[in-house]
């Protein structure tokens, strides 16, 4: 059974005849950015908007890749499991991110909602057909894939060669840079995911994550606010820590 069935039923056209993209708050961040009115309409015709509750599965590794998604709100985690239960989170997705570039006929990873999530779902076959007639969209997707690969390589450096402290600080800085890229203040950053999620993303244990946060706090490098917010008082200094100078 598809994991998606466990969630709230999709709403095929909640806006009546109106294009649902008109209300999309992350359009300019998403792959839809490159589409004109007409083309956007064509994409909207195959799209279904959905809401997923926090902790609910979105898709499972190995499952037939029948759908692709735009994340329009909330936080999603992507992960892979080893047979004995060890888990590696390969990425977090936020509003504007595309979910489903990295797959063949089956999904290469599982995806689960970290917070409540809103999605825009596309049947893969129809989406792939659209790609052939909307060259802009295909270009944009290639560019997204290229960016993801660059990120993936940074993550390999982190996982393979950085210390626990460097990993944590790199993670916080990546979130901070993401805020900056969207013209928001680079601090504080928000951590919607658990310590255990952070650990599985950075190749650590929850205990080490916790201890490292405590040590950074003790040293004045970060300040832990409530609501999972973290203040970064000196981003320059943190940048040096992250790269191990």
């Amino acid at each position: 059974m598809s994991a998606i069935d466990l969630n709230k039923a999709p709403v095929p056209n909640p806006f009546g005849t109106l294009n649902p993209c008109a209300a999309c708050t992350v359009r300019d961040l998403s792959i839809c950015q490159v589409l004109n009115e007409t083309d956007l309409q064509r994409l909207a015709e195959i799209a279904t908007t959905m809401e997923i509750a926090a902790r609910a599965p979105i898709l499972d590794e190995g499952e037939d890749a029948s759908y692709l998604f735009n994340v329009t709100g909330g936080t999603v985690k992507l992960y892979k499991l080893l047979p004995d239960g060890r888990r590696q989170i390969t990425g977090f997705l936020y509003g504007g991110d595309f979910l489903g570039i990295a797959m063949n006929e089956q999904y290469a990873y599982s995806a689960e909602a970290v917070t409540g999530v809103t999605l825009c779902r596309f049947p893969r076959k129809k989406f792939e057909h659209l790609l052939t007639v909307l060259p802009n969209l295909e270009q944009r997707l290639l560019s997204a894939a290229s960016n993801e690969l660059v990120q993936a390589q940074d993550q390999m450096v982190l996982l393979g060669r950085k210390t626990a402290k460097e990993k944590i600080v790199s993670f916080l800085l990546a979130l901070s840079r993401r805020l900056e890229a969207r013209d928001k203040a680079p601090s504080p950053v928000h951590l919607p995911m658990s310590r255990s999620d952070i650990a599985d993303y950075l190749g650590l244990t929850t205990e080490t994550v916790s201890r490292t946060f405590s040590a950074l706090k003790r040293n004045g490098d970060i300040r832990l606010l409530d609501g999972g917010k973290v203040e970064l008082p000196d981003i320059e200094a943190l940048t040096e820590i992250a790269d191990g100078y």
Copy 2:
């Protein structure tokens, strides 16, 4: 200065008016596979074939990404460095692989020839222009990027969650599967790269790599032949080791 300048001068058209792709031994493995005669000719017009000596640099991280490449022979390593010299090899490329998907205006990583390497070089601007008029090629590139992302995620699991033994065995099996995908015998596999390269690819030290090979050999899981070849007597058994059953 561009790293490429250090190498043997490129040969713009070593085949006279003949299409150099006619002689290409890896065409069916490369992105060129999807091109017909006419389109192949257009790609060939912007291509330059090159030879790079073992250990010579091909490109440097941060450098303007002026060229993209097809690897037509030999082994290439891609890597990133931390300021203090720690190195993470993010991938090895072999004949048929495309070099340059993961970049923006600058290369995201450095590339160096492990063995003697032959390359097919394309000026990026011209290549990108070709993409807009050869939809097949763009699709193929997107598909290549998608595959690379899947691989990248496997590598994250390896780096973040596997033991030294699991890492080494996973690496050997990946090489073996590559052989199989090309209809060759899955064993023995050839390791053209040094222990130190393997270590930097797997997030280990050379000493740990060496010790782990010795332990696997002692246990009869592998046999080290000369010429850097490794025999895998029981691939089933190794598969279980690789995933930590």
